[in-house]
Each structure stands twice: as C-alpha cells, then as structure tokens.
Symmetry: C2
Subunit: 122 residues, 2 copies
C-alpha cells in the first residue's frame, strides 16, 4: 500500500508517516519509482506509534520498545538477538513506563476524589 492509503486508513497525515520513517519507527519498502510501499502490518504499527506518542512517550523510547510490541501474542524477535544488555535496557524502559503509570494513577485518584468530595454538595 502507498502512503496515501496508509494515511487514510490510520488518519495520520503523510507528513507524519514520513517523519516516523525518518525517526526509524517505520521501514516501508521502496518501489522502482521511489514510492513507499507499506505492508498490512503498518496500519497496526502506526496506530501503536500514535497511541504511545499520545501517551507522552518520545520517538526515542518508542523506537527502543517497538520491536518488542509487535502483536498481541506473536513474538517476532528471537531470543538469540536478546543480549543481557538489551534485556536490561528493556526492563529499564518498563520501569520508566511504570513510574509514569504510577504518577498518572495517583493524580487521577486525587482528581476523582476531589470530584467525589465536591459533587454531592452541589
């Protein structure tokens, strides 16, 4: 599929699809005419990228974890390529994500508590 179709199917401007490629998040093939050729999986990849960006991750973090996020249950990267260093790095990313979750959940709870405390009285 060409960039325009991917853009329509994901709702993401072509500008950003090219940007994600420049950031090493997408790796489309190239046709003889230089056009980008995306596979079906790109749709899910782009949605994944958007979700993570909207959740506040940087392209750098996304680039680091994206290869391990492929499908719901499929495991793309074989264990052979996972050095202990990579595993440790991955774990540290997991930890950072967990910190964010904790911070967000804590503050969500505060906001919810505030609303709950105030709403009955209104």
């Amino acid at each position: 599929m060409k960039i325009g179709e991917l853009s329509r199917r994901t709702g993401v401007p072509t500008r950003l699809l090219r940007y994600y490629e420049e950031q090493d998040l997408l790796h489309p093939e190239r046709g003889g005419n230089g056009y980008r050729a995306y596979g079906e999986a790109a749709v899910r990849d782009v949605q994944q990228i958007r979700g993570l960006l909207d959740s506040g991750l940087t392209t750098e973090m996304i680039r680091a974890i994206l290869p391990y996020l492929s499908g719901p249950d499929e495991i793309l990267l074989p264990a052979e390529h996972l050095t202990p260093e990579t595993a440790a790095l991955l774990q540290s990313h997991i930890d950072r994500i967990q910190s964010r979750i904790d911070c967000l959940a804590r503050n969500r709870d505060r906001l919810t508590a505030y609303l709950a405390a105030v709403r009955p009285g209104t």
Copy 2:
C-alpha cells in the same frame, strides 16, 4: 523563600521555575524589591509539576488540573467555585489520563510478557 532556595530544594533550575510561573503554574508573591517569594507549599507544587511533565502531560493540562491536586487529603477549592462545566472539563481530563494509563499499561504488559517468554530460554 526566594527562587534560589526553591531551586536547590527541588533540583529544578531557576530558569524553569520562572517558566512555570510564566505558564501560570506557580504564583509566587513579590517582595518590595521585585524578588519572588515562595511559600513552603511551592516545594510540593514544583515536584508535582515535574512529575506530571515527566509523565508526558503538557503545561496546559497541568494548569487545568493543578488547582485540584493540592494535598493528599486537603480540598482547597470550595465547591461553590465548581460549575458543572468545570466538573465536566475535569472529568474529561480524568478520562484522558485514564486513556494514557491504559495504553501504557497495555504496552508494559506486552513488554513484560516478551521478557518473560524469552528470558527462560537464555
């Protein structure tokens, strides 16, 4: 307390403390000499701001929710000031935070599952 002390106590450069004020996140008093005068609560506020920024929120979102995040249990803003519109807005912020949490948790789980699936074999 003056800006230098707040900076030391929070580890946040004075430049950023001034920026946060410009963004309407901090509201220090001013001494006769023009110096900013922060209260004790500013320390917690700054840490709160940092945590939320690090969690990927924009200053805009933080500005919207910060007044309702004051302390662990204290409720600063009286219910009288909470119009239904504000409450709805607040709820929508809570929802957005929840979406982020969901997305992050989902991907944390994927990463963790990947590590778990691969590590025993190494």
